[in-house]
Amino acid sequence: MKFLNKIIFFYFREYKLNMSGVQDILTNIIFFFVSIFIFIFSIGPDKETISLIGVGIVWTLLLLSSTLSLRKFYQDDFENGNLLIIHLNGLSFGFIAILKTFSHFLFVQVPFLLSIPIACVLLNIANDKLFYLLTSFGIASLTLSCLGSISSSMNLMNQRNYLLGSVIVMIFSVPIIIFSVSIINMEENFNSLINILFGILLIVFAINPWASGLCLKLSLENN
């Protein structure tokens, strides 16, 4: 019960922190929509073209926008010693990584999930594709959060080059993008592609606490 309370109040802390910096979440969403507008203006008013490449645009921008927040994943808690304090409260580094990953999913990815229907209207994406887009992003965004956790924890040991973390996430997200976009364009293969996406999620989810936990421990040791 005590352990469960620690988890609940970890999220209470994350909620308070994210609400005090709600402008960061809004900035990500604004970046996402402004980028969509730039794409629309640069492509021109042809509805068919926009509709054809709309899903690709949404996925590319979702990926870019979610990498914007990666720097904050562990950095603040690492610098002010909170990571250590949370660990001393009885949570292992691997478990902290899992909690932080879900926190990133809730406070960074879910707002994007809610923005997708509006983006679909702007990019003339058919309503029947919206379901596939939301389902694929729902699974893939958690995978992206896991990748974000690994790259951000690695970045703590490499304070000089923050972009490296984003590059790692983008490289490893290529298969996610391929299968997610395929779901929307090959609806008849929905079940098999969604299973592949789930498979990728499970692999990354299993690696995440081990890899991130180790990086967090090493970065605190060398701090």
Partner: protein, 201 residues
């Protein structure tokens, strides 16, 4: 309770400190003294099992610390030399988070008394980022009362504190020891606190 035996830490083949031994029992206060870079913080982190020692071992309640780690963590409060309070939030929010996260059995009246003693009671709705260094440091000490644990490990607890606050800390240390508590703290120099063991690094 806590025994450190022949502890050495090396980094990049350079010894930070070598063959340090100390023990901490209830009612004990140990001071780690030394210049900047002498390894005080490293020793504290090694005791907390954050840094892997090159040689030596640490025991908690008769068992190797690594095998009894989470029991040790249940009994220890660590105050680092950084500000762990969340700067974007108010003092009140920070206290609420700590109280809940550490599942503290301290009641509101006790916290109010502590806030009054620390002269922070008028700033409850102020964001921590707007407080002075001294006020932030005093807020950090509030976590000692909220966590209510036996072993206090403090890194440079007296930096940025005025004379009144140092006096208050002296009294707090004495009260904690009277309640079977024990303290290890690092400092450049002892500001007149009664200690049972003094270690020069």
């Amino acid at each position: 309770m806590l025994i450190v035996k022949d502890l050495s830490v090396q980094r990049l083949d350079k010894a930070i400190f070598e063959n340090i031994s100390l023990s901490l029992s209830p009612r004990n206060i140990t001071i780690l003294k030394g210049k900047n870079g002498s390894g005080k913080t490293t020793l504290l982190k090694a005791i907390l099992n954050i840094i892997e020692p090159s040689f030596g071992s640490i025991y908690w309640k008769g068992k190797l610390l690594k095998k009894n780690l989470y029991d040790f963590y249940n009994h220890v409060t660590y105050i680092p030399d950084t500000t762990t309070s969340l700067k974007k939030l108010t003092i009140r929010d920070n206290i609420n988070i700590w109280k809940k996260f550490f599942i503290s059995d301290i009641n509101n009246a006790q916290i109010e008394t502590a806030l009054k003693t620390l002269k922070l009671d008028n700033n409850l709705n102020k964001k921590v980022g707007t407080l002075s260094f001294g006020e932030t440091k005093k807020l950090e000490f509030l976590r000692l009362i909220i966590e209510n644990k036996n072993v206090w490990i403090l890194d440079e607890p007296f930096s940025n504190l005025d004379d009144d606050s140092i006096e208050l800390m002296k009294q707090t240390f004495e009260d904690h020891c009277a309640n079977e508590g024990s303290i290890i703290f690092s400092s450049h120099q002892n500001p007149g606190i009664y200690v049972t063991e003094e270690m020069e690094l």
